[in-house]
């Protein structure tokens, strides 16, 4: 028995170790991929490609060189996403192009509109910027940790995050709703 990818005791065979890692972390990785792509099928494809890349180096990766295993796979996903995005010939178009007047009594409320607007804008962010936002907000990584995953400088992470926030704040309704929340924060 050796030490597994998660630090616990596990099989010494890299393939077995890799298999255990995949089975344990698949859902988390796919969720991360979904936040990057907005599409479950694309998320699973992204995970698979990243796993293939990681598998080749699993002997190093499971030892945490140069990354902890999950961070390595997520970094590979973020890099792969950029490649896909560049080669992509098609993208989804925002649905909010034409507005249907709300039916009486069907208004889902400002909170729903805000969330819809933010989700939509998140998916419209450039992939690298989107990855930074997901890593910082969803994964709760620090700027330095995010920079390591993204292969860029902490300053670049800060810049990306700042630009993303500027875009998110521009969304109709976001400022008002955020302002309400901010007021509560200030209290």
């Amino acid at each position: 028995m050796g030490v597994g990818a998660d630090g616990s005791e596990g099989p010494a065979d890299p393939d077995d170790d890799f298999r255990q890692f995949v089975e344990a972390r698949w859902t988390a990785l796919v969720r991360f991929g979904y936040l990057l792509t907005g599409d479950w099928a694309a998320a699973e494809d992204l995970v698979q490609v990243a796993l293939e890349r990681s598998w080749r180096r699993w002997g190093q990766v499971r030892d945490g060189r140069p990354w902890a295993p999950e961070a390595y796979v997520k970094a590979a996903m973020a890099n792969q996403l950029r490649s896909w995005w560049r080669a992509r010939r098609v993208t989804a178009v925002s649905l909010a192009h034409v507005t249907e007047p709300p039916e009486p009594g069907s208004d889902p409320g400002p909170g729903h509109a805000l969330r819809d607007s933010l989700w939509r804008e998140l998916l419209l962010l450039p992939p690298r910027m989107r990855a930074v936002v997901v890593l910082r907000v969803w994964e709760d990584l620090s700027e330095i940790e995010t920079a390591r995953v993204m292969g860029c400088s902490p300053g670049s992470v800060k810049s990306q995050m700042s630009r993303a926030m500027a875009r998110l704040r521009r969304q109709p309704g976001v400022l008002e709703a955020a302002g309400r929340n901010a007021t509560e924060v200030r209290r």
């Binding site: 995949v22 950029r82 178009v93 649905l95 007047p101 920079a147 955020a178």
Partner: protein, 491 residues
Amino acid sequence: MTHDDTGHGDRNDDLAVLDVLRGVMDDAVGDATRPAPRWDELERRLREARRRRRLGDAGRAVAIAGVVAAAVLGATVVVPGLDTSPRPAVTSPSSTRGSLGGDAAWLAGLREHVAEQPEGAPARDQKVLFAGDVGPYRLALVDGAQRGSRELGAEPAWYLAAAGAPPDRMRPSRTSAGVCGVQPPGCAAAPIGTGSLPDAVSLVLDGRSLDADAVPGVRRGDRAVVVVVPRRPVNVTLEGPPRYAADGTVSHPRPTPLPESHGVRQAVITTGGRHRLVVGSTPSEQVTAEIWPDLTDAPHFPVEDAAPSFNGGVTPPRHEVQGALLAVQHASGLAVNTSRRRLLWAGAFGGRRHGVLAVTAPSGAHVVGVFRQLGAPADLGTWLTAGAVLPAGPLEDVAVAWPNPVAEPTGEAGDPRPSGRIAALGPAGATSATFVDGDGRTLATTALTDGFGMATAPGTRSVRFGDPTGRVVTTVPVRPLLTLDDHDFDR
């Protein structure tokens, strides 16, 4: 929303937005468990992917090894399609291509500058693959710029500044995504970056990617720059935007080889519209990138005079019109400043939002896009378009009819299923629509509201629009749906 002078208001607002965004992400992933595939199936897929990658790596290794060997032996490397002057290997520190390739002092300065950046790799570990001036930019492509980037399989990094800049002014590209394909509103923000193509590393700076802060004096949307650094012999061509004749026919200029300079293919594009960059010698290996010098992101896309709805109906908010028009503009391939845009009609039926928009070419021909929502009203997904190119004429005469399909499940694109419902938008003055089959038989008739009507009439081949007196104003064929994925409806 209030902002105090200290900026704490902004920070609090950001915290509030982030808080909501975290909730948005929670909602998005929900409780999805997404079970892992069976291990044997996943292992089979991974082994297959590994095999394909190895085959690809082997091909590249042979190509690179050949160049390295030639350089070591002092032989002349001849790259078909490029000039035949001696060219060093891309893997050697002394092999930098581009107009600065021979400027050892500048290159050394750049490596030192990159090494001084946070997480920068030592200068000796970096390889400057390309450095030179292209149009208003000074660009450099550095492999291994950051510590650990090679282990991660990260691509080389681009640095840029204004043409003629010293090394210490070079800035890393702030975001990455250079060679992008069709990106309607989503391309919106494709900034600067690299593209790992099968045979080359390339950089495209266009209206969507321009880093205005980096190069003062270059305005967003006034030009594009393309740099392709080939790894091995490869064809690189550039095709200009399509041309729409007044009769509605479309032609495409012949693709021309991209000029080569200092071992790279590069171009500065100063005309608007969609350009296609094709890298690769055979269809199976070709990679296409689309370049729009003048197509900026949605917030900057001009929609003056595009609304209100020409034929009545709902007039959506400006930013929504902007997004849809951007998509049709993109599908048309037309230059922004030589075409006009207009929302013809917008409304909702069948529980879905719809819109009809037109981009008018300099000849007067119209590229019409019909947008239809997939999924529930509040969901994000894909719109379909019924694309059509109509001959020149006033917007009052524009009339289109299209099959209104049954939507796929929420959030999923795909081939829509036919429903037998036909939607029709008539010309000015039309008050009724008659749905006619291939033998001229009337299948249904409906009154138009704001010029729009729909009927369930399977087998409809054309729609006749009539005025209040019963006179036929015009007859149009039912045009099949094209999805935005089939954006090439100009072909």
